[in-house]
């Protein structure tokens, strides 16, 4: 993967869900940071695009949010994954793994 790839289409939701499942309740900045840390600079994320994604997930009741206090004592919105979201995450991880393995096999067979 080139060092500054855009977020592949449709994967941001999955990344956010996974982050929330790993970290527990966290605010938008925390999510963005975590994704960038995991990507180790290989991903160029417009951090603002996280917010429409969060809204989308919330509308689907996969995550929930509440006001809380951040580490440096500021009011922040904290997001956490719901039971419905965990189920969805599991399903999407399976789909993702399957897709990746199919694509890999295709690419390996290429002469």
């Amino acid at each position: 993967m080139p060092p500054d790839a855009d977020v592949p289409y449709g994967t941001l939701d999955l990344m956010v869900l996974k982050t929330l499942a790993a970290l527990g309740p966290v605010h938008g900045y925390g999510i963005a940071r975590r994704i960038e840390q995991v990507a180790e600079g290989m991903l160029r994320l417009n951090q603002g695009t996280i917010y429409p994604a969060l809204l989308r997930l919330e509308q689907k009741k996969w995550i929930s949010s509440d006001w809380g206090v951040s580490e440096n004592n500021r009011r922040a919105r904290f997001y956490s994954i719901t039971a419905l979201g965990r189920k969805q995450l599991a399903a999407e991880e399976r789909t993702w793994a399957r897709t990746v393995s199919i694509v890999n096999r295709l690419l390996e067979n290429e002469p």
């Binding site: 605010h27 417009n46 951090q47 603002g48 695009t49 917010y51 429409p52 689907k60 009741k61 919105r77």
Partner: protein, 884 residues
């Protein structure tokens, strides 16, 4: 989009500003945290802020994305489209107004006709669970429709298990009470089951039971609320009160709601068992209407089949009375309301949709023309990233805005039209349930028609308009879409067909107007408000023979003529404008080879004097006319023309012959006078009428006419008073001025004439709009040509002439096609056309009328072309060609 998401989206839509504030707060915090992070890494505060902005991305974009995510899909875009459509449409007012008016006419006529159709056929009867109610009638060998006889009904009732049967018969009865004027009311005799079957429920009291229905049971009656109010003065003791009906005392057991009683709107209901003259033994006296409610658990079709099978069994069991008599069983809705598949209603439906279709085609034509003018706009939109589907959507939204405006105006038009239609029909002709209201079905039809119309007139122009290739169009400036040859030919055909149709309809309407405008000298007399009329019916048990009836009429005359204010009085068998039976006549001298059919009217002396008329020759009847040895008649002018064209009619003798022409008449009657022509038929043409003395054959039902100097209500009181004094059991009914009576008799022709005229004017307006649309489109598509012509020296007048020539071509083709259609029409329908054409010189293909129509169309054409031609004037060659 799942429902869950939809709900939260709607919720978010509602708390939009709160959501915006929350997002802003989150984003601010996010960027502050980012800035702090960069500062920790050692950047200056300014650089850190810039880096944070970069890292975060566009705040505005995020806000937009967020908002889009919250809104309902497309609702914002739709709002935008609608707002834009309003702006575009209000810029070109002439176009928008024309389109909306055309749609109004199309949708309005459609909705008006549909409202009428709905009231007559589609809306069910006000009977609970009406689909399970059947109606049975008989068809004899000659396919004549009849009811059932009592014996047939009883046998069916015993032999059928799937259906509960009831029978009823309707007629008139006279309510007589001590010290009150008698009143004639409609009465239904019904078996006790009928009430439950038809859902007739009293508002007070009860319906008859099987016991009340047994022969010899004490008579009981249900009366309407109207009678309770007007006749019994809201008597609190109405239940149990004894009332006199046709001379028999009956106990009131129930009150019926004002709007009830179906399918007759009878005001008085009695058990069928108490009907004195019910023919219980005759198998062929088929006077009963039979209805049945299908029992629970049985399929309606099975039940109908069982009933019809029963009818077949009767035919084998009683061959002498029932052989060849078929039982026809249909759902009662179908029987009373008629079916939408009947030819008359299908024609109605066809016309209503044809009008919409024509208006759609015209609006579509208008939109095409506009599309040509807007090709630059479309190209610009496309080059700025508008997709074709987005542009089609925008154009369809404009069509939708037009359609909604047209539909709203159309609804108003339909409501007004229906109201006019209703007002043309006299009271009491239509039953109460035949209510022309815009119910849910009518409104749904309106919405559906408008929606489909939008697609019909909007889709094709939108498709064509959005076809523009942006590069070409913008480069060339002028419209690149010219109309294909096929489209042009189709347009020409369409406009010529519309003009031809207008021609036929206008010449028909002109003929209708000319024939209905024909006045007879007697018409003025008949519209007098000074003449009051009323009907009487003498019951056979009180007035069994001619002598008794003559005594009644003579006594009535004595009661009336001496009262103050009375100028003249007469009894007549049939009022003017009402249809009477025809007789066949021949003259003793044998001047006419064939017997001549004439309508006959029985009149008393002074009949013509009461009407304010006089015989044109000879004299009126005198009291002794009609006696033995004084067999005299009057003939009207039309009959005299037919029988005695060249000879003096007075003193001639004529006879009434039967069906066979050779038969000798029973007696010869002497002509003593020639009467003016008075209509005895709804049609405008004068018909032969023979007048006979009433006393020679006094009818049991007759009309009284009295000419007074009194105001109408005093005349009514006078008539009622006199009738009461003569015989307190004989009620007066149909009390009305002669003018009213004549108008009521002619309502059918009047209504159809009005409807025809309205449809004609609408068709002509649509054709005019169609012309306008085509002209506008032509100017649009020839813009560049006009520019070039102007640039190379064509004058404004020459351009105008060129464009008008096209219009004249349409007119010439339309007129030619129209005249051809009219001539073909007249030839094809010549019998009926000729029968209408008894007015001298009035026929469909009248050159003067055709010329006038052509002139009117030419004037319309000039008007329709004025706008587009002026538009062509304003085309500036310099500006247009510079854009190329």
């Amino acid at each position: 989009v799942t429902p869950r998401v939809l709900i939260s989206r709607v919720a978010d839509l509602l708390r939009g500003s709160a959501r915006d504030r929350r997002l802003d707060e989150e984003m601010r915090l996010h960027r502050e945290m980012l800035t702090e992070e960069f500062e920790r890494r050692g950047l200056s505060p300014a650089d850190a802020a810039a880096a944070a902005r970069r890292e975060f991305g566009g705040v505005v974009q995020v806000r937009m994305l967020h908002r889009e995510q919250r809104g309902l899909a497309g609702i914002d875009a739709l709002g935008q489209d609608v707002r834009f459509a309003f702006r575009v449409l209000s810029r070109d007012r002439a176009f928008s107004l024309t389109a909306i008016l055309v749609l109004m006419l199309g949708i309005g006529v459609n909705n008006m006709l549909f409202t009428i159709l709905n009231a007559h056929t589609l809306r069910g009867l006000p009977v609970p669970d009406v689909d399970r109610v059947l109606h049975a009638s008989t068809r004899d060998k000659a396919n004549v429709v009849g009811g059932l006889s009592w014996s047939e009904f009883e046998e069916m009732r015993e032999g059928v298990s799937a259906v509960t049967l009831g029978a009823f018969t309707s007629g008139a009865a006279s309510l007589g009470d001590p010290r009150r004027a008698p009143e004639r009311v409609s009465r239904t005799f019904a078996t006790s089951e009928t009430f439950a079957i038809l859902g007739v429920r009293p508002v007070l009291g009860r319906v008859p039971t099987a016991k009340d229905d047994e022969p010899g049971a004490p008579p009981v009656v249900l009366v309407s609320e109207r009678l309770w109010e007007t006749r019994y003065g809201w008597d609190p003791g109405i239940l149990g009160r004894q009332v006199l009906i046709d001379g028999v005392l009956a106990t009131v057991i129930g009150l019926l709601a004002r709007e009830s009683g179906f399918p007759t709107t009878a005001e008085v209901w009695q058990p069928l068992g108490s009907m004195r003259d019910l023919p219980r033994t005759s198998r062929t006296a088929r006077i009963l209407e039979v209805v049945g409610r299908v029992n629970r658990g049985t399929d309606v079709r099975t039940a109908a089949a069982e009933l019809e099978a029963m009818g077949a069994r009767l035919a084998t069991a009683h061959p002498d009375s029932n052989a060849g008599v078929r039982l026809a069983v249909v759902p009662i809705n179908e029987r009373v309301r008629g079916r939408i598949t009947e030819p008359a209603w299908l024609a109605f439906l066809t016309v209503s949709f044809l009008v919409v279709l024509i208006s759609c085609a015209n609006v579509g034509s208008l939109l095409m023309g506009r599309g040509l003018q807007r090709s630059r706009e479309m190209a610009m939109r496309m080059s700025l990233g508008g997709t074709r589907s987005r542009i089609v959507r925008q154009l369809l939204t404009e069509s939708l805005v037009l359609a909604v405006a047209g539909a709203l105006l159309g609804l108003a038009f339909a409501v007004a039209g229906v109201r006019l239609f209703r007002a043309s029909i006299p009271e009491n002709v239509l039953p109460y349930w035949n209510d022309y209201v815009a119910d849910a079905r009518v409104v749904s039809a309106l919405v559906a028609v408008s929606a489909v119309a939008t697609l019909v007139f909007g889709l094709v122009p939108a498709w064509y308009t959005s076809r523009a290739d942006p590069t070409d169009t913008l480069k060339q400036g002028g419209p690149t879409l010219t109309l294909s040859r096929g489209t042009t030919r189709w347009t020409t055909t369409f406009i010529v067909a519309q003009l031809a149709m207008s021609f036929v309809m206008l010449s028909n309407a002109a003929l209708g107007l000319r024939t209905s405008a024909v006045t007879l000298p007697s018409d003025a007399a008949l519209s007098s408000e000074q003449i009051m009329t009323a009907s009487v019916t003498l019951r056979a048990n009180s007035y069994p023979d001619a002598e008794a009836r003559n005594a009644f009429y003579a006594g009535l005359r004595r009661e009336i003529v001496d009262r103050t204010g009375v100028q003249a009085f007469a009894v007549v068998s049939t009022l003017p404008a009402r249809i009477t039976r025809q007789l066949r006549l021949r003259d003793a001298a044998g001047a006419a080879a064939e017997p001549i059919a004439a309508r006959h009217v029985l009149v008393e002396p002074d009949y013509f004097k009461t009407l304010g008329l006089a015989p044109t020759r000879g004299r009126e009847f005198e009291p002794r006319d009609g006696e033995e040895g004084q067999r005299t008649v009057l003939l009207n002018e039309r009959l005299v023309e037919l029988l005695f064209a060249d000879t003096e009619p007075i003193g001639q003798r004529i006879g009434i012959v039967g069906a066979s022409a050779s038969a000798e008449p029973e007696e010869w009657l002497t002509v003593i006078g020639v009467a003016p022509v008075i209509r005895q038929h709804p049609s405008p043409e004068p018909e032969p009428v023979i007048y006979l003395p009433l006393r020679s054959n006094p009818p049991s039902t007759a009309s009284l006419i009295v000419r007074t100097l009194l105001p109408p209500e005093k005349s009514v009181a006078l008539l009622r008073d006199a009738a009461l004094a003569r015989d307190a059991t004989v009620p007066l009914y149909n009390v009305a001025t002669l003018r009213q009576a004549v108008e009521d008799a002619q309502w059918n022709g009047r209504v159809s004439r009005r409807l025809l005229l309205a449809l004609t004017l609408i068709a002509a307006s649509l054709a005019a709009a169609g012309l306008y649309a085509v002209m506008a489109r032509m100017v649009g598509s020839r813009r560049r040509e006009i520019c070039i012509r102007t640039a190379v020296g064509a004058s404004r007048g020459q351009i105008r002439r060129m464009l008008l020539m096209q219009a004249v071509r349409y007119l010439a083709m339309g007129t030619a096609a129209g005249i051809a259609c009219v001539v073909v029409w007249e030839l094809a329908f010549s019998p009926s056309a000729r029968s209408l054409a008894t007015v001298p010189g009035a026929h469909l293909a009248d050159p003067v009328v055709l010329l006038a129509i052509a002139g009117a169309l030419a004037a319309t054409l000039v008007l329709a072309s004025a706008g587009p031609v002026r538009k062509a004037d304003s085309i500036s060659p310099a500006a247009t060609l510079r854009q190329d």
